[in-house]
Structures are given as structure tokens and as C-alpha cells.
Amino acid sequence: MNTEILINLVYVVAAVLFILGLKLLGSPATARKGNLVSSAGMFIAVVVTLLDQNIIEFQYIIVGIVIGTLIGAVVARKVEMTSMPEMVALFNGFGGLASLFVGWAALSIALVTATVINPVSAFTLITIFLSILIGGLTFTGSLLAYGKLSERISGRPFVYSGQRIVNSAILIAVVVCAGLFIQDPSDANWLYLAVALSLVLGVMFVLPIGGADMPVVISLLNSFSGIAAAAAGFAIGNILLIVAGSLVGASGIILTNIMCKAMNRSLSNVLFSGFGAVKVSSAAEIEQGEVKPMSAEDAYYVLEAATSVVVIPGYGMAVAQAQHVVKELQELLEENGAEVVYAIHPVAGRMPGHMNVLLAEADVPYDLLLEMDQINPRMETFDVAIIIGANDVVNPAAREIESSPIYGMPVINADQARTVFVLKRSMASGFAGIDNPLFFKDNTRMLFGDAKETLSNLVKSFD
């Protein structure tokens, strides 16, 4: 059998395995198997590609694979579950960079093999350019997102006037470079300029986006890394790259959409408005009042009497690494006869599903984790709502105060529980800089201090 046919047939099998793998990811019970199926698809695709007759030397391939495997394996083993968002951001960036390199290499090979009678087609050149452009901006955008998430650089949105104009200008410049290069592929300077501009564009695109909007950005960059792979697939005429890349691209788009809906904002609003950089001018309208602090000891008496408790975690739980002690408290409450569930807002944390992974790490069964729509109708029946390091996602201003910047955002109605405990470091407002009227409600008690410490004190009270 012809090797090329064999390779492509195995690619079909690999594509089927990717699809089955994603299908199995539809339930937590089969998800792990799905990941294995997907990785098997990748494995056979790589092995069969090595049969390609265009591959003459293997030494560089081996070097690349060994280096990549070592780094990948070490990172995957060492990374803390709380750092998962920055790791995913970094990997997105690597995916983008790989597509950029593949596109570029394809270009240089195509130009050498082209003849006067049989020049490189405009279609190939355009797709090569797309893989370089999308790959490049995914790379730098992801690096910046990584920096913001790991707090190596400030997570604040960076906004200046005329930002949209500058970004549009860069984009137009890239297109012009592409056009000029396709006209005359022998002048590589246009190519270098386009690569440089796409790298700049990635930075400019993530710069105005703040920490709380990171779930949207990571999802979008995830999508881009897939689309960049698909573009590279067009460039080198490889169907498997197109199929796998599109699957990832679609996945990222869906997640982006879910995240935007959960914040009641459009994608363009997230990307361009620099949420949180805007100061709230109508602060006077927000009802202020006395906050009522409570000691862990008093909180214990309330919890001991409670028969139903809902825990609402946010990014603060990740920062304080409090997931394990939350689980301890859950067990004590359950021994005490109380029902304990968790309410997870879609944008709690810094990436989609961030809280679920942390709680899974602490051995909390996933069937105790309820989504916003499941919990809100029964919120009134809960004796106690414990809010751990969440702020904007439980802010009743989203329902009550029309002038609030987050008005209309779907939130977990924690204020409707009989008693609300807010575990919070200080009275500083949430990421978005918006006051939270929840803190001043009659049924709210503030437990100030480090979330992990407060929870440990609560756990000790049960002994």
C-alpha cells in the first residue's frame, strides 16, 4: 500500500479517536477514559507521520520530542491545581508558537520548491500567513495572560484612549504586509514585519483586559490556538490538523460564549472596555450601612444549629488554598446532620471550571457542586450561605441597582439565604471595584481574615 494513503487512513482513525474522546468528556464518569482515547489518537497520528517519505533525518525530531516531553511531563506533574489557569494560558501560547513555526517553515519550503511554471498558489500563501498571524498573536497574548494570572505583572486592565484605533491600525498593517508579500514572495522583509506586528497585536489585545475577565480571554486564546493549528493545516494541506484544530477552535468559542453570558456582557465589551478601569461614579446611590463582623466562635454556634449550608467559593478560595479545609468543614457539618452543597458561578475563579477542579482536588464529590440555575430557586431554604473569597458573583447589585456596572449579570442570590457568612480579607471592593450591598444586609455577617485561617478556626470549634 502506498504510504501516503496509509498515513491518511490512520489520520482518519486519529480524528475519530479525538471525536470519541471529546464525546466521553461529556460526563465526569467517563471523562478520564475520554482523555486516554484522545491521547491514543495523538500517539498513532505522530507515529504514522514518521513514515512520511519527506522525512529524511530523524535526529532533530528526536531532540525536539525529548525536550518537549521532558518539559511537558515535569510541568504537568508539578503544577498546583490553583495555578491551572496560568498553565493553560502558557500551553495555549506554546500551541500558537508551534503553529507560527510550522507556517513559517512551510513557507520557506514552498518557496524553494516553487518554479516559474508552478508557483506557490495564493491560497497556500494566505493560509500560511493566517497560521503565522494567529499563531503569533496567540503566543504573545497568552504569555501576557500568563503573566497577569501568575501575578508576575499587574492584573489591572491597561486602557488608554485610542486603543481601538491603534489595534485596528496594527491589524490593517498586518493585512497590508500580507498583501505585499503575496504579490512578491521573494521579499522576505514583509514577512518579518508581519510576524513582528502579529506579536505586538497579541500584547495589545490582552493588555486592556483585567484579571476578573481572564476566563473569557483564556477561552478565546484556547480557541485561537485551535484555529491557528487549523490554518497551519490548510497551509501544509494536512486534513488532520484542520479537523483537530477546528474541534479545539469550536470548543474555545463555546466556552468564550458561556463566560460572556455569565457576565451579561458581549465579547467586544470584554475585549475593549477595560472593565474595572472605569471608576464607579454613582457610588452615592449604593446603600451603605454598618457591616456586622462576627468571630469564628459565634459563627460556629450558627453553623452548629444549621441543617442546610451552601458554600459559594470564588477566586479568594484559590488564593488562600482553602479548598482542603473547606472539605473538612463540610464533613464536620455533615456529621452534625446538616446538608452541605456548593454553588458554583460560571465565572468564579480565573478560568472556566476553576472551582470544580480545586474542590475535586480536595475530594469533594462532584455531585455536590451545583450550578447557579440549580441553586438559586432553593436559596431561601438554606440556613447558612458561606461565601469564600467571592464578591462580584454574589453581588445583589446585579439585580437591584440599575446604575451598577454589573446590573443584569446573573448572580448567585446568596443574600436570600437565612444567614450569610462572608469570609473576606478586608473591606476592599471586588475586582471590578464595585461596592457590594450584600455586606450591609441585615442577615450578613462578615468573618474578616485569611479564609484558610478562619475556616481552620471554625473546624477547631467543632472538636
Binding site: 461529556g26 507521520t49 532533530y60 511537558g72 491551572m84 519550503i109 472556566p352 457542586l369
Partner: protein, 97 residues
């Protein structure tokens, strides 16, 4: 004609992706992201050909770099997803449910 064929595959795969991913519950969104990250490391397949083609120095260098970065994605992505998914458990007693 090849252009039409590739575009056809691209469009169908996107629709398939939408159908598949819509069924993934929100509790698995982080593993979904890291897992799909690993899938996007499929660029490795393209990179292998560049790195081993021995046609041009620049293509070999770029290809080797691409192989390394894509492999980080593939190996790291699948391993960390597996690590995460191993932690997802149902309430004890409800085994096999």
C-alpha cells in the same frame, strides 16, 4: 478543488465541535480546556515533516522548535488533564451509578 475540499472539512469539523462541546458539563470545563489544548498540539504532526525534511536549514530549525513546543503541549496537556480527571469522584457509596 483542493481548496473546496479542505474548507468543507473545516466547516463540518467546526459544527461537529459545537455539538460535542455543548454536551460537556461545566464541572469539566477546566479539563476540557487542558485536554483540547493537548489536541491543538496536533501541529506536532506538521512540525515533524518540516524538522525532518532536510531541505533547508531554516525549515529544519523552525520545524525542530515547533516539534519541541507542540510536544510540550501534547505531553503536558494530556498528563495534566489525566491528573485532574483522576480527582473527580462521585459521592462515596454511589459507586457504579
Amino acid at each position: 478543488m483542493e481548496i473546496v475540499f479542505l474548507t468543507f472539512v473545516f466547516v463540518l469539523a467546526i459544527f461537529l465541535g459545537f455539538e460535542l462541546i455543548n454536551k460537556v458539563p461545566s464541572t469539566l470545563h477546566t479539563p476540557l480546556m487542558s485536554g483540547s489544548n493537548a489536541i491543538s498540539g496536533i501541529t506536532l504532526v506538521g512540525a515533524l515533516v518540516s524538522a525532518g525534511s532536510a531541505q533547508q536549514e531554516i525549515a529544519t530549525i523552525l520545524g525542530t522548535l515547533a516539534v519541541a513546543f507542540a510536544t510540550i503541549n501534547v505531553v503536558g496537556g494530556y498528563m495534566v488533564t489525566d491528573r485532574m480527571l483522576a480527582m473527580f469522584k462521585k459521592k462515596e457509596g454511589g459507586s457504579g451509578k
